[in-house]
Symmetry: C2
Subunit: 244 residues, 2 copies
């Protein structure tokens, strides 16, 4: 059973209130790093896996993509995407695990913070490789393995509620985690950095970039608690290119 | 001032008693993974940075290297290396930061658990790139950024002395850490995974492998406390290849 948490009314409502949902790309703390890793979209056929509200789809279109396809399991997300973004973007309501595009369908595949909801990463990479053009590019972000390892996704506190440090445990146990996100219970899948990188290499990708983003400099001074984001990595951004 | 902790009598004596010092490669918990990442040494000119007792130098020689050079800052380490390994291996007593070999001096550069003692990783990568042959290979291990982040290099315990989890803090603060190793104070340098990988990419390497090793299966059952090694990554192994 593939998880469709974003069609849950309460969760969706909370997600819609997040800064990244309201403000789009500029409201996402990792965007300033992710954007540097994106290829030139001009004339490219672009696929976005787990496209959500369609912010990245619209960006690709704005920057010259010839065609853009967004895939998401959640009907609610896609309704929002259709309302907010260009009608030329093709949205498909489908679990990303079920994509089955013909060879050479896309020149660029992107995915933002979606793969940690997927149990079998290697299968996804295989499907991406299968539908990408020769030397096609693949850029994605996920929650960092250090962030997903414990499962609780919270700091370790002292008796006074101060954040002492970030706890890591069960790192090499790759499996489901019952995480808390927006006060709700959400299933995520923890996997190691080794798995993320090795699966890409094994399936014929060259790793062209790997970045653990820190927040934009001005957020550190203006957003409460943001300096704690320098204490542990929360996200992992990887870019790759098909070697043949 | 480059650190030469291994010429400290007490530290050296303790280091010499470690399983990896007494037993060599088979006594090192990461060797079974590192060995898979090493290239075919046959006919190659090999450099080992921070060669210590010379175990990896001897391995390269045993597996067909045409010539082997080991560099280490510690005279004590090199005395041991000379006593234990083949006289055809050339040992140079020098901080690895000071190497200055001509272009195309080596086909393979290896380094085992030494770069976390070095302040400027990118400088080392530049020097490695400069002396490697075209498409030359570079394989190294370091302590994992998750292991070096806090500096204390110890678990977080409960009141009864149980290991609760591994603490992570100051992850994005790349600087010196006063670590405890073998009960002694040792200076190490923490840097992020981003830095390790990005520096390699920036200096013209393709990343061909990235592994966070777990202990050999049989150690988990025979060595006390070894199962805790599955709770957090301790080492990071990376292999790369000059792209031109």
């Amino acid at each position: 059973m593939k998880q469709n948490k974003y069609d849950d009314d309460v969760f969706f409502s909370k997600y819609s209130k997040m800064r990244r949902s309201r403000e789009g790309l500029e409201g996402a703390g990792e965007w300033h790093e992710l954007v540097k890793m994106l290829p030139d979209f001009h004339g490219k056929r672009v696929l976005d896996l787990g496209c959500g509200f369609g912010w990245h789809c619209q960006y690709a279109l704005d920057y010259g993509a010839r065609s853009v396809t967004g895939v998401d399991i959640s009907e609610k997300m896609l309704l929002e995407a259709k309302a907010r973004t260009s009608p030329v973007i093709r949205y498909i309501c489908l679990p990303m695990e079920d994509i089955d595009f013909p060879a050479d369908s896309f020149d660029v595949v992107i995915s933002s913070l979606a793969f940690h909801y997927v149990q079998f990463f290697k299968d996804i990479v295989g499907k991406v490789a299968a539908c990408l053009s020769s030397h096609g590019e693949f850029v994605f972000s996920v929650e960092h393995p250090i962030f997903t390892a414990c499962g609780t996704q919270d700091w370790h506190y002292d008796g006074q509620g101060n954040r002492l440090h970030w706890p890591v445990d069960q790192y090499f146990t790759e499996s489901k985690r019952d995480a808390r996100f927006l006060g709700e219970s959400v299933t995520k899948y923890h996997r190691t950095l080794t798995t993320y990188v090795s699966n890409l290499l094994e399936l014929g990708f060259e790793v062209t970039g790997l970045v653990e983003p820190t927040p934009p400099e001005d957020w550190l001074h203006t957003v409460s608690g943001m300096s704690d984001e320098l204490r542990r990595p929360m996200m992992l951004l990887i870019s790759g290119k098909r070697k043949s």
